[in-house]
Subunit: 488 residues, 2 copies
C-alpha cells in the first residue's frame, strides 16, 4: 500500500529525474565546454602524479569531477587528432590523413558532419576560440568564432588563455535559452616558433631551450610560474640532460599558464551560474612535444589526460578506468546533448554512462591509427592497446622514422643524439629511428616499451590474436591501408 | 628608293602579320583546343613508329602540324599530371600530391589560378568535356562543363569520343566573337573498371584481358577496330606473354576509338571554318596503363606523344626535338593567347617559338617529380632527364615499390610475376619492386634503363652533377621534400 511519504518520494524522484539530479543522469541538454590543449602530456599534471608541475585548477576539476586513467588519442598528431575529436571517426576514415596547414594541406571529406555542425542542427549555439587546425571549415563549422588565427601563430590568442576565457564570457553570459557548446583550444603547451631578427620563424634554438610561448612581458592576467631545471621531473622516456631539463622547465611554465586560463574559464562559469549545468571536458590533442611522445604511438604520445565534470555528478574525485579514445568524444557529447548519431556514422561510442566514474564493462581495449604528420612524414602505424599489451604495426617500417621539424631541432633531441649517449630515455636512438614491422610490448613488465616481444616464441599466439584484432579494426573502420596486407 | 612594289610588299607584310600568316607568328588570340587522353603511351601511335596500331587522324594531325619527340609529363599519375598541365606548376608546388578522387582526396591549393581561369579572365570562353580529375573546382574552373562525371566511370561520356566531339559543336559553332578554349579529355585508353554482376567494380579479370572500355555494343559513331594478339607490338619493357598481347589488343582498340573521336572533332573544326584559327594540342597525361610505365619515371611512363597544329604553321610535318614537359603547356598556351603570367608563377616556360618546329636552343633537360598516386602509394621520386642520361632519386627507396590496383591485378602483371620468368620486359621484377636510392641510366647505351650506373666509379662525377641539378630543381620549385636531404 502506497504511503503518503512514498508517494511524495515518488514525485520527488520524478522531479529529480526531470531536474537531472539522479545519479548518472545528466541534465537534459547541458552546456558543453570542450577544452583542448596542445601537446599536454599526461606526465605533467598534479592530479596525474607529478608533484613539481603546477596545475591547481585542473587538479580541482579532477577533484570535483572524474579523472580518466586510460584515455588515449588515436593519432598523436594535431590536425588528425582534432579531426577525430570533432568527428568521432578515425582520421583514415574522415580524410584528415596529416596536418592541415600550409603545404601539408590535408582536410577531411566534404561530407563529414562534425560535432559542432550536429549540435547546431540540434539547437545548440556553438562557438570556438583559439586553435582550430582542421578543415574544411564546413565540416567543423562553429556559428561563432570568438578569435581565430593560424595554428601556433605567436600573434594569435592561443597563448593567452585568460584573455581567451574573458572572450568566452560573451558565450557564457549570453541571455539565450539555448545551451551552448564552447570549444576552447589553447596553443599551450606547444613548442613555440622562435622568430629570428629577420622575422622568419625557426625552431633552431640550441643550446637555449625552446620557450614554449613564455616571454618576458608575460600575458594578460597570468602570474608567470617559473621552474628551475633541477626541480622538474624527467620522465623515463627522455634523456636526463641539462638541455632536456631546461626545456621541461619552459614546458611547465606554459602548462601553468594554461591552467590559470582554465581556472578563469571555470570561475566565469560559476559566476554566471552555469557551472552546475555545464559538462566540462579537459583533454590534450596528443602527448608532449618531446621526442618519443608526440607523433609516436608509444604511451607518452597517446595516453593522455582526460578530466570530466558532469552536471549532477555525485562522485567528485571519481577515477574512471574504462579505456576510451578521442573517437569516443563526439559520440559521448552527442549522447549527453540528446542528439542521436546514425548507426555506423562514428567509429567511437558513447561513454556517457561512465562520466560519473561508474565502471564500464567491455571497455578494455583501444585502437590507434596514424598515417602522416607533416606531408613529408609518411609513417603509417596501426595499433591495438589492451589492458596489458600493445601491438604496433609499422606499415612502412623500412623507412627511417621521420621527425617533426620542431622535435628534430629541439635541444632535447640534440642532447640525446649528437651530444649524448645515444639513448632516448630507455630506448636506443637507433631503434627509435629504425623499427621492425611489428612491435609487441607487455606494458606490465615493460612500461617503457623497449622490449619488443614480437619474435618471442612464447608470444606468437598473443601476437596472432592482436594482429587479427588490428586487421579487423582496419576493415571495420574502412581503412585504405588495409590493402597493404594483400598487395605488399 | 622604295618602289611601288616594295611598298606593296611592305603593306602585305603588315597585313600578313596582322592576319597571322607570317611564319612563326600565330594569329592573335586563336582558339585553343587541348586534347588530353588517359594513359596513351608513345609506343602506340602510327606517327611515333608503331605500324600495327591504327591512329590515322592523329597521324594526319602530326603530318599537318608538329610532332614533338622529347615531350614528357612530370609525374606519371593522372590527377597530379593534369594539375601540372593546367597550372604550369609541379604538383609538389600546386598541392596535388596524389590522386583527387574518393579516399585519395588530394587537391591543389586554393590560391592556384589554373589555365582556364586565367584565359577566362583574359576574355576567352572556356569549356571542358570528359575527364576532369582535379580539384578544387575553383582553381581549374571552366565556364561551361559540357559533360562531366567521375573519372573513369563507365556511365560517363569519356569513353565515347565521337559523342564528345558532337557535344563540343556547341562551343565550336557558337556565334561568339570571343576565342574559345576547349579542354577535351577522354577516358580512353585507360583500363576499365569491370563491373561484377553485383554492380561492384573490379580489375580482377584474369585470365581475361581488361577490356579498356571496349564493349560488344560499341559506341555511337565509332567503327570498332579489333586487333589480334599476334599483330600487336610488344614493347621491350613488357613481357611477351599471351596475357599481355591480349591486353595490348584491347588497348589498341581503345586507342582506335579515341582516334576516331579526335578525327570527328577536327572535322567539326574544319566544317566550322575554325581549323586555321585554332591551336590544337594533343597529348596524354602519362604513359600506358601497363606495369613499368604509368606511375614510374621510366621512359614508358613519362616520355609521351605531343602533337601540335598551330595557326599559320608553315612546316607541316615538322619534328620538334626540344625537351619539354607538361609544366610548359600552360605557359605556352598563355603565351599564344597573349596572356602574360607573372614572373615565377609557373615552373614551366613557353615553347611558343618552337610550335612550328623551329629549333629551341637551351631546351636540353627536363625534370620530373612524383610523390603519390593512390593515397596508400607513397613513393616520392625526383628526376633529371638530359639528352643522354637520367638520374632518378627514390626518396623512400626502402619501401617496396607500390603498384596501382589496376596494374597489380592486370593479367599482364600476373603473367610476368606469378606465371612468368620473373622479368618485366628486360627488368627483373625484383628490381622493379626494390630499388636503390639512386638510379643512373645512360639512355644511349641502355634505352631500357636496366643498367644502373649509380655506383660505377667512372660515373661519379656525372652522378654528382646530376644530383646537384635535382637538388637545385627542388629548391627552385619549392619542393617540400627538399628537407629530406637534411633530416634523413
Amino acid at each position: 500500500m502506497e504511503t503518503k511519504a512514498a508517494r511524495r518520494a515518488g514525485w520527488s524522484t520524478i522531479v529529480a529525474v526531470l531536474m537531472g539530479l539522479v545519479p548518472g543522469v545528466a541534465a537534459a541538454r547541458p552546456n558543453l565546454v570542450l577544452i583542448v590543449s596542445d601537446d599536454h602530456g599526461r606526465e605533467a599534471l598534479g592530479c596525474y602524479g607529478n608533484p613539481a608541475v603546477k596545475t591547481p585548477h585542473l587538479d580541482a576539476l579532477a577533484a570535483d569531477g572524474t579523472r580518466f586513467t586510460q584515455a588515449f588519442c588515436t593519432t598523436a598528431s594535431c590536425s588528425p587528432s582534432r579531426s577525430v575529436l570533432l568527428s568521432g571517426q578515425h582520421n583514415h576514415r574522415n580524410g584528415m590523413y596529416g596536418l592541415q596547414h600550409d603545404d601539408h594541406h590535408f582536410q577531411s571529406f566534404a561530407g563529414v558532419r562534425g560535432l559542432p555542425v550536429r549540435l547546431a542542427a540540434a539547437g545548440y549555439r556553438t562557438a570556438r576560440i583559439g586553435k582550430f587546425h582542421v578543415a574544411p571549415e564546413a565540416a567543423y563549422a562553429f556559428q561563432t568564432v570568438l578569435s581565430a588565427g593560424a595554428a601556433n601563430d605567436p600573434a594569435t590568442i592561443g597563448r593567452s588563455p585568460v584573455e581567451m576565457a574573458e572572450q568566452a564570457r560573451a558565450v557564457i553570459e549570453a541571455k539565450d535559452e539555448r545551451p551552448f557548446f564552447l570549444y576552447f583550444a589553447s596553443d599551450d603547451p606547444h613548442r613555440a616558433n622562435a622568430v629570428l631578427p629577420d622575422g622568419k620563424p625557426t625552431f633552431d634554438t640550441w643550446p637555449q631551450p625552446n620557450r614554449f610561448g613564455n616571454r618576458p612581458e608575460g600575458y594578460p592576467g597570468i602570474d608567470p610560474q617559473r621552474f628551475r631545471p633541477e626541480d622538474v621531473r624527467v620522465p623515463a622516456w627522455l634523456p636526463d640532460t641539462p638541455a632536456c631539463r631546461a626545456e621541461l622547465a619552459e614546458y611547465y611554465q606554459a602548462i601553468a599558464r594554461l591552467d590559470q586560463g582554465i581556472g578563469r574559464l571555470i570561475a566565469l562559469l560559476k559566476a554566471a551560474g552555469k557551472y552546475e549545468s555545464t559538462l566540462i571536458v579537459y583533454l590534450s590533442d596528443n602527448g608532449a612535444a618531446f621526442p618519443g611522445a608526440k607523433t609516436t604511438l608509444y604511451e607518452p604520445g597517446i595516453r593522455l589526460p582526460l578530466l570530466v565534470r558532469a552536471p549532477g555528478r555525485t562522485r567528485p574525485g571519481a577515477v574512471q578506468e574504462a579505456m576510451v579514445t578521442w573517437a569516443d568524444i563526439t559520440p559521448t557529447l552527442l549522447d549527453v546533448a540528446g542528439v542521436p548519431a546514425a548507426a555506423g556514422e562514428c567509429d567511437g561510442r558513447s561513454f556517457r554512462a561512465g562520466l560519473d566514474g561508474a565502471a564500464l564493462p567491455g571497455w578494455d581495449e583501444v585502437y590507434a591509427s596514424h598515417t602522416l604528420h607533416e606531408v613529408t612524414m609518411y609513417y603509417p602505424m596501426r595499433a591495438v592497446r589492451t589492458r596489458r599489451h600493445k601491438l604496433i604495426v609499422n606499415l612502412a617500417h623500412e623507412l627511417t622514422y621521420p621527425s617533426a621539424l620542431d622535435l628534430i631541432k629541439s635541444p632535447t633531441w640534440i642532447s640525446a643524439t649528437e651530444q649524448g649517449n645515444g639513448m632516448l630515455g630507455r630506448r636506443p636512438v637507433g631503434l627509435f629511428l629504425h623499427r621492425p614491422k611489428l612491435e609487441l610490448y607487455d606494458l606490465e613488465e615493460d612500461p617503457d616499451e623497449v622490449r619488443n616481444l614480437a619474435e618471442e616464441p612464447a608470444r606468437q599466439t598473443l601476437k596472432a590474436e592482436l594482429l587479427a584484432k588490428v586487421k579487423a579494426f582496419q576493415a571495420a573502420t574502412k581503412d585504405p591501408w588495409v590493402r597493404k596486407w594483400t598487395y605488399e
